[in-house]
């Protein structure tokens, strides 16, 4: 008890004297060295926050695009082995009156073939200019509300509610616009010689033979979300007329709700559906699983890079403090000689190291949140399957500040301790 009290007093005094020494040492040290060390600390911080943030952001960007451009927060689709969402109309009614559902888009979807060249027959050794595609019937008004669909139009115009005979087609299905056009993927057929205003023939297979109808391409849609850029779109009314059966059963319902409420809504819908088959998922669950794996990989990669950055930074601080202490070995000896406690001397070195750490992370925080994050939000990185943003939350940044400060503390303390432990007289006499 008495010992603890005495130690507390010693520590307080050591902190006070250590502070006195550290402030003066920093104030009278070379401005260049100080700037350089702080610069290294800033880079380390950015390395910790920005590198992993960008890696995650590449994927997060695609998650956001998927949710905003296609799925909404909750998406209901046909169950496996079923061609439509069972009990569709009752579910739509349920959702329409659900207080938590802010918006939704109901979509039809069927498999179809699109024939691009209607006039010439293919040559003997050629395949027809034809592709298989998912043909989606949308309500242009509802779709526009949910996903701002018109922003995906890269050529031509979007669909209007009551028009007929027009079709939108995903850029990745047309050779001229596809991102994969020059990839020469075996079996991947793209439509050639096709553009806005051209006539194409859509055929659906049905039990009573093929249904055919010609459409004029009204627009090309392009997005990093596959569900947009590899599909074809016509109005829901027209698709309903085209299909022979199950005209009231739909294939997709994308729902906008509070993101935090999404899991609860999924459960409510499942409860409502009971034995009727449908796949009900949050946006996150519906994301292609390879993207989620990429996210995990990017996270690991980010952490690995961060750890390297942290190790390099701690070694840097360690060396700086160590050299600083070695060159001041004589003065450390003198301080001990005149009665300054080793603890106080160690405190002074820790304070100096912490100063570098705190200033470095403060400037780093400022750069991250005032400069880099707004910059990447305004100018996302153009990545094949997403628009990369910088993922940096205050919590994750704060965690990294804490990690950096703990490392700085140790990198300041250990070398100081090594030098301070040396024999006093040897240090004074420089032997």
């Amino acid at each position: 008890m008495k010992k603890a009290l005495q130690f507390k007093r010693e520590l307080q005094n050591a902190l006070r004297v250590g502070w006195f020494l550290a402030v003066r040492s920093l104030r009278r040290s070379s401005k260049w060295t100080t700037t350089l060390i702080i610069f290294i600390m800033i880079l380390t911080f950015l390395n910790l926050v920005v590198v992993s943030g960008l890696l995650l952001g590449l994927i997060s960007g695609s998650f956001v695009a998927f949710r905003e451009g296609y799925s909404g927060e909750v998406i209901v689709t046909s169950a496996a082995q079923r061609s439509y969402i069972e009990n569709s109309q009752n579910l739509i009614a349920f959702l329409t009156h659900h207080p938590k559902v802010e918006d939704m888009s109901v979509r039809y979807g069927v498999s179809a073939q699109i024939l691009g060249t209607l006039t010439d027959l293919p040559g003997k050794n050629e395949r027809a200019n034809q592709i298989g595609i998912r043909l989606i019937g949308i309500d242009p008004v509802a779709e526009e509300r949910l996903t701002r669909f018109s922003r995906f139009i890269m050529q031509g115009e979007t669909l209007r509610e009551n028009e007929e005979g027009y079709l939108l087609i995903g850029a990745n299905m047309i050779k001229k616009y596809s991102a994969f056009a020059d990839a020469n993927i075996p079996g991947l057929d793209l439509l050639t010689n096709i553009d806005i205003g051209d006539r194409v023939r859509v055929s659906l297979s049905s039990t009573d033979g093929a249904i055919r109808k010609d459409f004029i391409i009204k627009g090309i849609v392009k997005s990093k979300v596959d569900e947009i850029s590899t599909r074809a779109f016509i109005t829901d009314k027209e698709l309903r007329r085209l299909i022979p059966v199950n005209k009231n059963e739909v294939q997709e319902i994308a729902i906008r709700t509070d993101e935090a409420y999404a899991p609860a809504l999924v459960q409510e819908i499942k409860d409502f559906m009971g034995n009727y088959a449908a796949r009900v998922q949050t946006s996150g669950e519906a994301i292609p699983s390879f993207l989620r794996q990429v996210e995990t990989t990017m996270g690991l990669l980010g952490n690995a890079l961060s750890s390297f950055a942290l190790i390099v930074a701690s070694i840097t601080i360690f060396i700086v403090v160590f050299i600083n202490a070695v060159t001041k070995r004589k003065f450390i000896g003198i301080m001990k000689g005149i009665g300054v406690s080793p603890l106080a001397i160690e405190c002074s070195y820790i304070f100096q190291a912490m100063f570098y750490g705190i200033v470095g992370s403060a400037v780093g925080l400022l750069l991250t949140f005032a400069v880099l994050k707004p910059f990447f939000d305004a100018h996302p990185i153009n990545f094949p399957f997403s628009d990369g943003i910088l993922v940096a939350t205050p919590e994750s940044a704060l965690l990294r500040v804490v990690i950096l400060l703990v490392v700085t503390f140790l990198a300041g303390y250990i070398p100081a301790k090594i030098i301070v432990r040396r024999n006093t007289l040897d240090a004074i006499l420089g032997r």
């Binding site: 301080m335 009665g339 300054v340």
Partner: protein, 225 residues
């Protein structure tokens, strides 16, 4: 007040062993001004390190006020030096990042005195050594003599029991050395116990007692006045 008994200090081992202090026994009383003289290599500095607890003797003991100091742990020795001893080094040994007054204030601050009071006491000590106008200078902005006087101010500011000095004027010309020696004489008149190593017999004569060392043994021990 400070006493050594059969003090032996040797360096090295085996064939290379060099015994610098050989069975040295001296006793110095309160208020004495003792000069330790002798040829180079006689062991004067070594003796001072033992007396000021900066070093550990190979055998024998140093006791201060009847207490055997040699057996104290390092931490308590440091603490004792802080409160009871002052040391003036030959090369001044000021901290280059602290101003004159901060250098002097440091050991006082370490004793737990508030910063304000420590700086005030430091200024008083500097004033005694006629350095008031230089108190905010860094050591690099002071002459050798001034630096040595700052060093003395630092050694006496906390009113130590014993003041040690190892050739305090060795690096100074006679003009700068004069006020430094005067400072020691003044302190002695005020009752300060001083143990000083010096080469110059002229300065030794200012002391009340001269101990002459040669090859680690006392060859003479005389009161002057």
């Amino acid at each position: 007040m400070i006493k050594t008994e059969k003090l032996i200090k040797s360096y090295g081992k085996g064939d290379l062993e060099l015994t610098v202090l050989k069975n040295l026994s001296v006793e110095i009383g309160k208020g004495e001004f003792v000069a330790i003289i002798g040829p180079s290599g006689a062991g004067k500095s070594t003796l001072l390190y033992q007396l000021s607890l900066l070093d550990m003797p190979t055998s024998g003991s140093v006791s201060i006020n009847g207490k055997n100091m040699s057996s104290l742990p390092e931490k308590e020795k440091t603490h004792f030096r802080l409160r009871e001893l002052g040391y003036v080094f030959q090369d001044y040994a000021l901290l280059p990042e602290l101003t004159a007054v901060e250098n002097v204030a440091l050991p006082i601050l370490m004793q737990g005195v508030s910063k304000k009071d420590a700086l005030r006491q430091a200024e008083e000590a500097l004033a005694r050594l006629s350095l008031t106008d230089k108190k905010h200078n860094l050591p690099s902005q002071l002459s050798g003599g001034q630096q040595q006087r700052v060093s003395i101010a630092r050694a006496i500011a906390h009113k130590p029991h014993i003041l040690f000095a190892d050739e305090p004027t060795a690096n100074l010309d006679s003009v700068s050395a004069e006020p430094v020696m005067q400072a020691f004489a003044d302190l002695h008149h005020e009752g300060q116990t001083i143990i000083m190593v010096t080469h110059e017999t002229e300065y030794a004569s200012k002391a009340g007692r001269v101990i002459s060392l040669k090859d680690g043994v006392v060859v003479s021990d005389m009161k002057t006045a």
